[in-house]
């Protein structure tokens, strides 16, 4: 069943809420205002001042932290004169023996590769926008990929997992945290900031209007 659109609005550009499909007139939201769906209340657009530049800066910060998190020692264990140290990569590779090998690859993706891929894609999309130039080729693809991968980027869950693991071995041995752990912990905070600052709608629109 279709209803005709009211005649007085024919021709105005429309958008639909991605959550509940309700039609709205395409908004031009002033900065620091939030536009919410009239039916379900989803925030459709919330542009902030200098948001694109800030997101880019946060993404670069995350990339530096991620590099540190992967290469510095992560966690160290001492018991009865023996000690063992593990990096983030070792944690992923814990499953690498026997038939569990695919899980090792999956864990490496969830905690290192997917978060890194998202960062690279976001930097690739936003850098030209900040420089007020035309977006790079496939920028829309890159940004869509970054959005698709969002639920699969599990760095913050990994950090909480470390905390749980520490409690489990606390009675057995002395555990000390390396610089990589702190890099990872800060990374989680920066990621939250980044996701909250980014207004997807604004980015999609500016990608569209600056395309050749």
């Amino acid at each position: 069943m279709t209803t005709e659109l009211p005649a007085d609005f024919a021709g105005k550009p429309l958008i639909a809420c991605p959550t509940c499909d309700t039609l709205h007139v395409e908004p031009s939201v002033p900065t620091n205002h939030a536009a919410c769906c009239r039916r379900c209340g989803r925030v459709l657009a919330a542009p902030r001042e200098n948001a694109v530049r800030n997101v880019l800066a946060l993404a670069v910060t995350s990339t530096i932290l991620m590099t540190g998190a992967v290469f510095f020692p992560f966690i160290e264990l001492q018991a009865a004169g023996l000690h063992n140290r593990a990096s983030v990569l070792d944690a992923a590779m814990a499953f690498s023996q026997g038939i569990m090998a695919p899980l090792a690859i999956a864990v490496a993706f969830l905690i290192i590769l997917i978060p890194t891929a998202r960062l690279v894609a976001i930097i690739y999309t936003l850098l030209p926008l900040v420089q007020k130039r035309q977006p790079y080729r496939f920028a829309a693809h890159a940004f869509r990929l970054a959005e698709r991968l969002r639920p699969w980027s599990m760095a913050e869950i990994f950090v909480l997992g470390v905390a749980v693991a520490l409690v489990k071995v606390a009675g057995l041995a002395t555990v000390s945290l390396g610089p990589a752990f702190w890099a990872f912990a800060v990374l989680v905070v920066v990621n939250v900031l980044q996701d909250n600052t980014m207004c997807r709608y604004t980015i999609w629109k500016s990608l569209e209007t600056t395309r050749r």
């Binding site: 279709t2 958008i15 991605p18 959550t19 509940c20 039609l23 499953f95 569990m100 899980l103 864990v107």
Partner: protein, 215 residues
């Protein structure tokens, strides 16, 4: 943050969905197109022909998720070898062990993340998918809230897999103590991934369609 007043097409207060107006909308960026358009010109995502994702994917991923959750609970998640003995613990066993050690908070995290959340998710997705297109005791707003909670919380179940990974990487102290992962880690990780995919294939617009029909 001040609220910007969204304008709707038409002067009366009736909200119209894109589907009712004979349009298909992009579920990523919200652009609308005439029916028959295959992909979004703004963000490049594929558009569903009738403006809604089908339910098949939801049921298929959910069934797969429940299926692999069973072996995850039967087989051992961790194998621990110390000087004196060796032991294997399942998901539930690991939580109970923590509880006996007095680590109540951590036992609770493990229990919630690997038992309550997965089972709650199966039930919630099943209920949401069944209640589509029917009258339900839960209002549309509440059902949507349930959906958001399921989508937000689902990923956190993966914590148990990471705990096993960290323990296995860390506790390698020659003959004194060794921890190795058990096969249940694989099926548990698969179960979490499948249920995440199931929740992602559930189109929230289908939930909101019920709101439209009430008018």
């Amino acid at each position: 943050m001040p609220v910007y007043n969204m304008e709707i097409p038409g002067n009366d207060a009736a909200l119209i969905s894109a589907q009712r107006a004979g349009l298909v909308a992009c579920s990523h960026c919200g652009r609308v197109y005439p029916p028959g358009t295959e992909s979004c010109g703004r963000c490049g995502s594929g558009l569903d022909p009738d403006g809604r994702k089908s339910l098949q994917g939801v049921w298929a991923w959910l069934a797969a998720g429940i299926l692999v959750y069973l072996p995850a609970n039967i087989y051992p998640m961790l194998r621990t070898n110390t000087l004196l003995d060796s032991s294997e613990s399942t998901i539930v066993g690991g939580a109970i062990e923590l509880f006996h050690h007095g680590a109540y908070a951590v036992a609770a995290i493990v229990f919630v993340a690997s038992i309550l959340i997965p089972i709650g998710k199966f039930l919630a997705i099943g209920y949401l998918a069944m209640s589509l297109g029917r009258r339900s005791r839960m209002s549309v707003h509440h059902r949507h809230m349930l959906f958001e909670v399921v989508e937000f919380i689902g990923r956190w179940s993966m914590i148990d897999v990471f705990v096993v990974a960290i323990l296995s990487a860390l506790v390698h102290l020659g003959s004194v103590a060794n921890v190795n992962p058990g096969i249940a880690a694989v099926s548990f990780a698969l179960s979490v991934a499948f249920t995440m995919l199931s929740a992602q294939s559930l189109d929230p617009r289908l939930i909101w369609d019920a709101d439209e029909e009430d008018r």
